[in-house]
């Protein structure tokens, strides 16, 4: 898959963090467990390229202290259900078969039964985890049209394999998540997304999709220079502005147009799907989805309600 160096490191301090979110945008209140820093999939638009000092993948494996920390957080969160993920600074599954770093978390969340672990990936192989999986682990895949994957996510699994893997997870009794993130504007992207969502409707059971996120391409200024330097035609086709958080993102009217299109296509499959926007402004939520989300707390409340409905109040 890759010749990148992978090393185990002793990192002082906590690896469990609140997702940093971004200023003036609504955040879903996700918690990250940064077991792995760096990624072997090396997608061309990955913000890790701008943040990390080299391409070494560093694994910080200290199960006892992580479990102790998770216990404290989960037991202390009486008013809502915490959601954790290992896919913030890496891909959750890309090296997991070899290094088996998620297994203790899967076991922990299964035993705890009070919070959710999301394994978010572009790598469609989680067979090594199948004997251990339980409903408190959500297998999630980022999805994009294959044309885009061929151009910008060259080391990842093809989208049909990701969808087949998601189907496998559903058949094993799990909920799955889908992340349309990043959604990228390029010539003909609307048609490609129509086909992709049609495939999702055919392959997956919408009743076992716990959540779907939509997020258009955004990146810090440092990455913009890299994209220009590397002549990323797909990634630079849309019209970017600098958002209030300083990041590059598509101009608002385009974001609204994209979200509306995807939301309509997805709700045509099943109107009860839970679809949320990742790192978006309240006014975009309102204009694109017609949903009045005032702040990050409001979105966390929507997640709580969704989880309560899907898990039958067992969390």
């Amino acid at each position: 898959m890759s010749s990148q160096k992978v090393e185990f490191v002793e990192r002082p301090g906590s690896v469990v963090r609140k997702c940093p979110g971004t200023k003036h945008h609504i955040c879903c209140g996700y918690q990250t467990i940064d077991l792995v820093e760096g990624c072997v999939l090396s997608c061309s638009y990955c913000i890790l390229k701008a943040y990390l000092r080299d391409d070494t993948v560093r694994i910080s494996y200290k199960p006892e202290s992580i479990v102790a920390e998770l216990d404290g957080m989960i037991d202390g969160a009486c008013d809502h259900v915490l959601r954790f993920g290992t896919g913030e600074l890496s891909d959750s599954l890309a090296i997991d078969r070899r290094y088996n770093v998620n297994r203790f978390l899967v076991d922990y969340f299964g035993a705890k039964r009070k919070a959710i672990l999301e394994l978010k990936s572009k790598w469609a192989d989680f067979r090594h985890l199948i004997p251990h999986l339980n409903p408190y682990t959500v297998i999630s895949f980022s999805v994009s049209p294959q044309r885009f994957i061929d151009a910008e996510e060259t080391r990842t699994s093809p989208v049909y394999k990701r969808l087949k893997a998601a189907r496998l997870a559903q058949e094993g009794g799990l909920f799955v998540g889908l992340h349309f993130d990043p959604v990228v504007i390029y010539d003909g992207f609307e048609r490609d997304y129509r086909y992709l969502i049609a495939d999702i409707g055919r392959i997956l059971d919408p009743a076992r999709i716990l959540w779907i996120s939509l997020g258009t391409l955004r990146f810090p200024p440092a990455l913009y220079g890299l994209l220009l330097e590397r002549k990323r035609r797909y990634l630079l086709a849309g019209e970017f502005i600098r958002g209030e958080d300083g990041k590059y993102r598509y101009i608002k009217t385009e974001r609204i147009r994209i979200y509306r299109m995807l939301y309509r296509l997805l709700t045509d499959i099943d109107p009860s799907l839970f679809i949320y926007l990742c790192m978006e402004r309240a006014d975009v939520w309102k204009e694109a989805l017609g949903i009045d989300v005032k702040d990050s707390e409001g979105l966390t409340g929507l997640f709580d309600e969704r989880i309560k409905n899907m898990y039958g109040g067992t969390l």
């Binding site: 220009l228 330097e229 002549k231 990323r232 035609r233 630079l236 086709a237 019209e239 502005i241 600098r242 958002g243 209030e244 101009i251 608002k252 009217t253 385009e254 974001r255 609204i256 147009r257 402004r281 006014d283 975009v284 204009e287």
Partner: protein, 302 residues
């Protein structure tokens, strides 16, 4: 020190030449007045090879001097180059000279550590990518080097310029040479040109026409790279024109139309001013102008 006839010096051998630009009017005036005060340094070969004093030698040739005061050194090439570099370091190098120095070190077989050490002393990031850019600068044609020197381009803008091929760079220099450009304006212009080139696959003369000033050029490029933003800005200008805001009342809109709200600024000197301003604002609201601006900021209009 000895006087060496110019005919015994190989003025075409530029292996140790670092100075840029080669000509220097002040030096020429000084040599005309008092002659060459500081001797040049020559490598003891047949004919002699200039190590230090290129500009002096150039002036001497232009002034048809028959000989120049010189110190003859017999040393290896690497030592001669280091002498040339260190002799010039005290006066400070411009970006073209820095490029010439590190390029020469690289060509003469100095180790990476030695090259990087010099780069550190020249306020350059000792990194392979920077070295590669500087080596490209050293091999650029004269018009490109002259543009970089005269416009005092930052390394970032130099790297951006280097990403264009020779044909494209020629067009860019043609359009930009006569314009007054700050480093940040140039960065913006080059970024927009790169964007156009990446999207179209090529950069033609139409993409970078000759303009009277940099603002016009920037606006022309913006319309190509940001058609929606340009269209929104044009619509906003039309609305503002129709509003005919009185003195003391201003409406501010996020330039990227990202913030959904607008700021209405009042400059007030008395209660009557407040009444007048609020009255005018009410009229603007009633006429639908404020709603039309909010439709732009809420992303409802493209």
């Amino acid at each position: 020190m000895t006087d060496v006839p110019l005919s015994r010096i190989n003025l075409k051998d530029r292996r140790f030449s670092l100075s840029y630009p080669p000509g220097d009017e002040d030096l020429r005036w000084s040599i005309t007045a008092v002659g060459i005060v500081q001797p040049v340094i020559l490598l003891d070969r047949t004919p002699y090879v200039p190590v230090i004093g290129w500009r002096r030698l150039r002036c001497a040739r232009e002034l048809r001097m028959r000989s120049v005061p010189a110190l003859i050194v017999d040393t290896d090439e690497k030592t001669a180059l280091m002498r040339a570099i260190h002799d010039n370091m005290a006066r400070g190098f411009n970006i073209i000279e820095k490029a010439a120095a590190v390029d020469a070190m690289d060509r003469f077989g100095f180790s990476r550590d030695e090259v990087f050490e010099l780069m550190g002393h020249l306020d350059l990031n000792p990194h392979e990518k920077v070295l590669s850019s500087l080596r490209k600068v050293a091999s650029l044609d004269d018009p490109s080097r002259d543009f970089i020197f005269r416009k005092r381009l930052s390394l970032r803008n130099v790297e951006s310029l280097l990403r264009f091929d020779d044909r494209e760079r020629k067009k860019i220099l043609g359009a930009l040479t006569g314009l007054h450009l700050t480093d940040s304006t140039l960065r913006e212009v080059l970024e927009m040109l790169e964007l156009i080139r990446i999207r179209k696959g090529t950069l033609t003369g139409r993409d970078i026409p000759l303009m009277e000033d940099s603002d016009r050029l920037r606006s022309h490029l913006k319309q190509k790279t940001h058609p929606i933003l340009s269209s929104l800005a044009k619509k906003l200008r039309a609305i503002r024109g129709a509003m005919a805001l009185p003195p003391g009342v201003d409406i501010r809109v996020d330039p990227f139309f990202e913030k959904e709200y607008i700021d209405i600024i009042l400059k007030i000197g008395s209660e009557d001013d407040v009444d007048a301003a609020l009255g005018r604002i009410s009229e603007l609201v009633a006429a639908g102008h404020v709603r039309r601006i909010l439709e732009l900021t809420k992303g409802r209009i493209r």
